[in-house]
Symmetry: C2
Subunit: 298 residues, 2 copies
Amino acid sequence: MTLASWKDGPARQAIVDFVESATTPGPAFVEVADRIATFDNDGTLWVEQPLPPQFDFVFRRWAEEVKQEPSLAEQQPYKAIISRDPEFFQGIATQEPEVIDALLAAFVRTWAGTTPEEFDAQVREWLQTVKQPKLGVPYVELVYQPMLELLEYLKANGFRVFVCSGGGRDFMRVFAEETWGIYKENVIGSAAEYTYTDGRIVRAEKLLGSLDLGPGKPEHIFAQTGRLPVFAGGNADVDIEMLEAARFALLVNHDDEEREFAYTSGAEKSLARAKELGWTVVSVKDDWTTVFGKEKGQ
Amino acid sequence: MTLASWKDGPARQAIVDFVESATTPGPAFVEVADRIATFDNDGTLWVEQPLPPQFDFVFRRWAEEVKQEPSLAEQQPYKAIISRDPEFFQGIATQEPEVIDALLAAFVRTWAGTTPEEFDAQVREWLQTVKQPKLGVPYVELVYQPMLELLEYLKANGFRVFVCSGGGRDFMRVFAEETWGIYKENVIGSAAEYTYTDGRIVRAEKLLGSLDLGPGKPEHIFAQTGRLPVFAGGNADVDIEMLEAARFALLVNHDDEEREFAYTSGAEKSLARAKELGWTVVSVKDDWTTVFGKEKGQ
C-alpha cells in the first residue's frame, strides 16, 4: 500500500530517496525529534477550485446573514460576493494577502461569541450537505489519495505530520482526524483568539498572531512545534516560505483538467522557485495513478 | 516501575482508578483522540522555590544588562530586582498577574531580535552552570520523580501529555525532550511572536496571545490542541481554570520542608477549590516515597 497511487517516476523516487536517507545512519540522517513534516491543505491535500472550500462554507453563512439583514448587501465583503466581483474572486483564487485579510476580518466577526461546539456543528452540516460544483461530491471526498498515502508513509518513518494552511485552523480541525488521520493538535492554520469565561471557551473577534500565509507559515509552524519542517508540501506562491524553510520541498502542479483542474494561477512564483532550488514538482497528470481513490465525478 | 515513587495511598489510588475507568469500555470511557493531559510546570513538575527557576535565568541576564548600562538600575523591573523589593518578589512568588505581566514585557524586550539558536544556547548554559541555592544542584535535577512517572503512566495509557505553564514556552522547550520525554510541540506556555525574515525565525517584541496563566491556560490549551484537557495537574491558584476544565484534577500540595519546601502561598484558593470540587490533592510528604529520584541536597 506504500505510495500505491504514485507512479514509479521521478517524484516518487525523490520522496523515497529523501525519506530513506533521512532515516538511515549517514550524513543526511535526521534525528527522530526533528522529523517534522508540514503540508498546505487547499490545492495540496484537497481540491481548491473554483475556490478553497472554506470560502464555500463562509459565503453560504454570509448569504444567510444578508437574508436576515438585507442592508449588509451594501457592505464589503458581502457586496463583492453577491455581485461576484471578478477582481475580488481572482484575489481569493491567488490568495492575495489583502483580500484574504479582509475576508478573515469578516470571518472573525461572524463567529465571534460562538463556542467550538456551535462552530463544529455548522462545519459538519456543510461537510455533509454541500457538493463541489464540478465533481458533484462533498468536498471531503476530494482529498488526494496519493497525498494521504504520503502522510502515512512519513508517519511510518517517524515523521510527525502537520497540516499548515492559510485556511481556518478550527475549520480544518473538525475533519482532520477522520480525513487525514492526524490529531487536531497537528493542524496549524489562521485562527481567532478564544477567551475562557464561566467555564467555556468562546471565540473572540480577533486573530491570534499572523495570518498563516507566506512568511506566516514558518512563523506558525515554529510557534506550534518549536521547529521548522524537514519535509514540506505545498502548491502555491503562499507556500514558498514554508517550502524554503524545509530540507525537502514538494510542489503539487495542477495539470490534469480531466481528473480535477489544470491551472498555474497563484503558483507561478512557486513553480519558478522550484526550478531554481530543485524542489520535487509533482504532476497530478503524470505522477498519480489515481487522484481521489475511486475517481469522482467522472 | 509504574508509579513506583507513589505511596500506595488515596492519591495514587484515585489516579489509577480514573485512568482505568477512562480506558475501559463503560460510562467513563474517554475516546483515544480526547485523551489530553496537561500539567503546569513550576511547582508541579519541578521546584518553584524560592522563585520559579526561569526568573533566576532572566534576572542573571538583566544583571548583565545593568553592568553594561548602569542607568538601567533606576528603571523597573531592574530597580526592584536589584533592591530585592519584597513586595515585588512576593508578587512573583504568588504569580500576581500584574507583576508577571510587567516582567514578561521586559522579558520580550530583552530577547527581541534574537534567533531560537541564540536563545537556546543561553538557556543551556544556565541549565548547566547555575545551582538551586538551597538544594545545591542544577534546577533541571529538581524535577519531581513521581510526576515523571505519572507522565509515563498517562502516555502508556494513550494520553498525549502537554506541559502548560505561565513560564516561557521557548524556555521550557529547550529541555522538554530530555527532561520530560515529550516533544517541543507538547509544550505550551507564554510566548513571544516570531517573524520569518530572510530565511530566519527572529523573535519579535510582542507577546503571542494571552499570558498562559489563570484563564489563559485553557485558552492556550485549546489553541494548541483543539480540546480541553481530560486530566490536569497543577499546584497553584493560577492553575484553577485549567483544573476546572479537566475531568480529573490533581493538585500538588507542598508540605515537605525537609525534602524540598513547605508553603501554601499562592495556592490558598486552589486548595479551597480542591476541597469544594473533590480534586485529588497530592501531599509531597505523604504521597511520594521519593521526591527527586535520588534525594538531592540532603
